[in-house]
Amino acid sequence: MTVTLSGDLEVASQSVSCATCHCKNVLRSDNEKNRKRSNTVKGEREVQGHGESGVDTAVTMVGPVDADVDVVRFLGENSALLLAKPLDGRLRDVHSLYVMNKQKLPAPFDEFLECVRTISQVSGDAVVLVETRELQGTEWVIEFIDTFALQILEGQLLQDSGRGARVDCHDDTVDASDDDDAETLFDEQTPLLDRLMDALDFDKDARAADEYTAPLVKVLSAKLDHILQSEPVSFQLARERAKYTTRFEEYISVCGDPEHARLLTGLAYIVNNKVVSMQWSKLTKAEQHNPQFVQCLETHIHFIPNLKPQTDVTLGDCSYLDTCHKLNSCRYLHYLQYIPESALQLASERAAANTSAAVPPLYTHGYCCSVQCKEPLPPQWIQCDVRKFDFSVLGKFSVVVADPAWNIHMNLPYGTCNDVELLELPLDQLQDEGVLFLWVTGRALELGKESLAKWGYEVVNEVSWIKTNQLGRTIVTGRTGHWLNHSKEHLLVGVKAHPHWLNRHIDIDVIVSTTRETSRKPDELYGIIERLVGPHARKLEIFGRDHNIRPGWFTIGNQLTGTRIHELDVKERYREQVADQPRDPRDPRRDHRCGRPRDHRPFASN
């Protein structure tokens, strides 16, 4: 049973009417049977019925003690919680909670035990206490609490001691603070709307009641909630460090004012599909009508409609925009990006001002000890047929990125590795512990998850690359998917073993980036990975192409040009391997092409 359900049960148990209460007693007896309680006790419970016997005993009891009333109330109100996991009714823990809740001088456990025993006796086993022998000595466990009998007992005790607050056994435990609220609710002075909104303000009680007056359940659940909602400080520290240590790339925001685009159509001088210059005389005039236009022009990215004789504005935008191959005949609307050089300069100055890399961060988790003086290795790469390459040459890596050509369509114009070949790649050799990023498309999503599991990884994240076009819009046209259009791609993130050195939760699992050449993935990923594993971790990219080589990274793939290795041990092992195996006479770039899937491109404008 879930926590919520047991919570509900408790609420229900406190607000039942007499009729349902009877059923409940019967129900409880059933539970007891399951618990294999002794026959005598069970018999007593059945006879007890509505708990009259409990009342009788309570009445005859002499000299009720304040503490006892508190204990009775405490046990009654929190019965479900006390009996459920993780407490399981262990009396020592119940005692600690009682002391915590009441904020009193800690009464010794022996006294508490005696008190509970007395309650159990006088109420006719409303509280069933069992002794168990454990390693550290004798333990007492509450096996069962009859809230109804306890409520009656509590009422009797209060009446006897002259406080007479809660006699009614039907009392649904509305506490004093609620009564106050009820009074203010009917205050005629406040407008109806405010009163209604006040009634809807569920957080009010939580805010009003401080830690010691609220019932234990609420305090504990609020505490638990708070713990679950707050992220570890390591996340915050890593994020803060990333902010100060990664270079702030220049950033220019995009102007979203359609009026500016319209104005620019008349201002820009376009030759051969390029913005050549601006007509300055008109610029000042435009500024007069649209104040701040010039300032916006200086600081934002603008897209100027590229109107040509054949352009039919009513058709709307071209699906291909800047990648359209028929710029001189396409009747759809195209745009030209306009950023003044000064804007970029301004942006890079701003970026430089925000980057304070000179101060070495005091938080060093996940960094190598010589992080300040160590230079990143220059780019390294090996041109090879990945399917036949001996991965032991490469050593171990902190992070691996793979963008395989999944064989999703059988009729691709270029050779693709088939799924089996990909599954058979010995990717389990590359890492003892670390992270693997695997690009997948469509059907390969499931295959990718299976492969990761087979290689010993647990899929912990799925990154979505939101593909955007020239105008920063998602791709919505054409028939880019079979049933629905595809405007994103998936990147599976698998973790092997327990890499404690990761700086987790710096970035989010969403990348927004423009599409480029077919199947070329966004460079943003490199930044995300470098922040995750630290600047000097060994990083490998499999199935890389020439545009993928980067400082600090090792790239292998059949479409790379040549081979370059700087790490001496890898160099040595590679030499040995090449010496062992005479080169394949066939040109690997032609025959073993393990190409890439075609990027989904819109077919045509609608």
Binding site: T284, R473, V512
Partner: protein, 321 residues
């Protein structure tokens, strides 16, 4: 003050130094991930067509308008069915056996963790609840979908319900009611900012010939939260994708989770919504059946929509025929 002087200066500069307005020669793109690290502004906030996804495409805009109108015209009245999670399977079994109700579109789950999807899927005779052809959408966190994969990928399941698309919903920031939070996020290396949907098709539909049943390629597999989306556990995007895709009017949404008062479950025209926390409990099989008799089981073809919606290339089908 500084602003004004700066503006004046820049104006003078414009007149004298034309160089400052010289355009960049190369295409420039921002690195929104890097920008997030430094400014805390989420990458998805910079997508320029969030509010109107088909901005710039008049034909598609027209198509969306037409479809919205037609879907509203052929919608049953909104139904809510307030049922405790434990009672869901018995209730649904009753609908199938006693009332002979089936649905063409069934959506399970909403944007919250702590959903009891697995027991529902294992206990419910889904193949009897969903007619053929029928469409199943299961919304949950990425982690939950991964856990369900084991069940949904087994042979018996995969034969009945073919997985066809993976949908994603991205909330716009951390203040969003749809922000997933840290729930079930103990092992992840990146902060979670999305919800996933497993979209299945049962029975046979062909996208080239079954235009009366499905309209393909109208929506995309990605939704980003729009401004002013109602506070609730289900953003309208989730319903819209299903409505735009299938022309069926018998739609059921099962939410096997307590969503509480903070994120109420609202009714939606054209849907029967089953949840322990749905705001109104008004479902009666007979009333639903009479509504269906009124609107019909499928939205009829409309020539405007037919001419506007994306279709398979014509030559290809001609060859096949």
């Amino acid at each position: 003050m500084s602003y004004d002087t700066k503006r004046n200066e820049s104006k003078q500069e414009n007149k004298t130094k034309h160089v400052s307005f010289k355009p960049l020669k190369e295409f420039y793109t921002n690195n929104y991930s890097d920008n997030y690290i430094h400014t805390g502004s989420f990458p998805q906030a910079h997508v320029t067509n969030v509010e109107n996804t088909v901005e710039g495409y008049p034909k598609l805009q027209k198509l969306f308008q037409e479809k919205e109108k037609q879907i509203a015209d052929y919608a049953t009245k909104p139904y809510g069915c307030k049922v405790a999670i434990d009672e869901m399977v018995p209730t649904l079994k009753n609908w199938i056996k006693k009332d002979k109700i089936t649905f063409d579109v069934v959506m399970i789950g909403c944007l919250t963790d702590n959903q009891f999807i697995y027991p529902l899927l294992t206990q419910l005779p889904l193949d009897k609840l969903i007619s053929k052809p029928g469409f199943l959408f299961i919304w949950a966190s990425v982690q939950k979908i991964n856990e369900l994969s084991r069940l949904l990928n087994n042979e018996i399941w995969a034969k009945k319900f073919r997985r066809s698309e993976e949908l994603v919903f991205v909330p716009v920031d951390k203040d969003s009611p749809f922000y997933p939070g840290l729930d079930g996020d103990d092992n992840s290396v990146l902060e979670k900012m999305q919800w996933h949907c497993w979209m299945c098709i049962t029975g046979t539909v062909r996208r080239s010939t079954d235009g009366h049943l499905i309209h393909c390629n109208v929506d995309t597999d990605l939704s980003i939260e729009t401004k002013g989306a109602c506070n609730g556990s289900v953003p309208p995007h989730l319903y819209k994708i299903a409505e735009n895709f299938s022309t069926a009017t018998r739609r059921l949404h099962i939410i096997p989770a307590r969503t509480g008062w903070e994120t109420p479950v609202r009714l939606r025209p054209g849907w029967v919504i089953m949840s322990p926390d749905v705001l109104i409990n008004n479902f009666a099989p007979s009333s639903f059946k009479s509504e269906l008799a009124r609107v019909g089981c499928n939205i009829p073809l409309k020539s405007e929509i037919e001419s506007l919606r994306p279709k398979s290339p014509v030559q290809k089908t001609e060859k096949l025929v």
